[in-house]
Amino acid sequence: MNLKQKFDAGRFVILAEMEPPKGTDVSDMVNAAQRVKGEVDAFVVPEMSNAVMRMSSLGGAMILHNKGMETIMQANCRDRNRIALQADLLAAAGCGIQNVMAVAGSDPSFGDHQQARSVYDIDLLELLKMLTTMQTGRDMAGIELKGTPEFLLGSTINAGAGKSPELALEELNKKIDAGAGFFVTPPLFDISGIRPFMKRVDLKKTRIIPTVLLLKSLGMARYLARNVDDVHVPDTLITRIRKAPEKPRECIAIAAEMITALRDEGFSGVLISTRGWENRLPDILQKI
């Protein structure tokens, strides 16, 4: 059963982020993915998140795919124009990748190549429309394709912390109309924050996948709480980590509890993001 079939069957899916290497040595990525291969339904391979240059999502996704793992490739608007995006998406489909997430991409000023010129030839909604068009057998110029790509399309939705649920719903509906079938939220640490949004979502039309971010330290929790607008880290959680004798173990327990809570809440799945601690994925999965 592939990811789409699992979604269609109403299964709670476990996605895990698997960042490709900054370099050519893929062994850590492959080993980390292989350790949880049976428990993770698909690996989301980020496309140079935070504008930090590393192996592309297409490359990373293909490497995992060739080892028998289902992947979700990311395509972003920052680094490629419409010609390159379509070319890479054809390559992905040709190599067997079945799932694509359209993302906007952080500005180069956030990353490690701050002198780079960003592209943004098309925006996120146009990227989704482009993907939808390609699945009708034509490219953006209207020219017929020899072989039509078929993807399960996803995107991101900024819902859960701070943002008005009405605005988030508007954004969601636009992306659904453009072709997205599932949505990943920013890291969620407090389910009550996303409930007002979820009440407005027609779950027959789409699937919402909250990100469960593994906190790695008290400092990380505090940093997110103070500096990241899209993320709400409750004080009780920070206190819990502060008082814990073994903080990494506590953080793993927090992530696992969040996954269980989201499953019980009726979400379609979760995306586990471990940001460099992919080797801790088995510990999290063991606890759910």
Binding site: D107, P108, S109, Q114, Q115, A116, R117, S118
Partner: protein, 222 residues
């Protein structure tokens, strides 16, 4: 200067559909020089709109005004007392003027009457051509005063590319190859050794990476 081109009148009519009191607002700077949005063009557009609405039997008031600049608080203040009498303004300034107008007068819709095209020069009568893309880090000292960022189709900093033929660009035989111009110019200046020096990889962070740019001059502020 900022070079603009007139918008098709059909597009302007579509923008202002339903409005009954319209101010056509020109700008006496760049758009006057490139004959897209100065006093003369304000008059031409206003007359054309009046005729259009008259023909359709619509009672639409069209007034004309041209400011010295629309990118300056001081001059935009000149219309403060009159602007409330209108339910729309069609600004023939460049995109900067349209936005500054919209920022200053929140309750009046402002519509652009021109398409802002590029930073350029009046090469000939009725011919304006691009010379600068405002990349924020001028390299003209190295390229004999000819800009490959704005004038080379590929923005190549170490040119020319293989598509340069007979001094023309591969995209059109009416377009000069910027790098041929640079080589000719450096040759004339006796500085061909500059051409032999590889240009460093360009820092585009002064271009658009990082969002809208600003220039802060504390010496002017104080």
């Amino acid at each position: 200067m900022i070079v603009a081109d007139k918008k098709p009148i059909e597009e302007i009519i579509e923008e202002i559909k339903g409005r009954t009191k319209i101010l056509i607002l020109g700008c006496n700077e760049c758009v006057t020089v490139c004959e897209a949005g100065g006093k003369k063009e304000v008059g031409v557009l206003a007359s054309a709109l009046r005729m259009y609405f008259l023909k359709d039997g619509l009672d639409v008031k069209i007034d004309e005004k041209t400011l010295e600049r629309q990118c300056d608080h001081e001059y935009l203040e000149e219309i403060r007392d009159m602007v409330d009498a209108y339910d729309a303004v069609v600004s023939l300034a460049c995109g900067v003027g349209v936005q500054f107008m919209a920022e200053k007068y929140h309750s009046i819709p402002v519509y652009p009457g021109v398409n802002t095209c590029f930073l350029g020069a009046a090469e000939d009568r009725g011919l304006w051509t691009e010379r600068c893309q405002a990349c924020g880090q001028c390299i003209l000292a190295r390229t004999g005063g000819i800009c490959p960022v704005s004038r080379c189709a590929k923005r190549i900093l170490n040119g020319p590319c293989g598509g340069s033929t007979g001094g023309k660009c591969e995209i059109s035989n009416e377009t000069d190859c910027a790098w041929q111009l640079i080589i000719d110019r450096l040759n004339a200046l006796g500085r061909l050794e500059d051409y032999e020096t590889l240009s460093p990889i360009k820092d585009w962070s002064t271009d658009r990476a990082g969002g809208p740019r600003k220039v802060v001059r504390e010496d002017v502020q104080s």
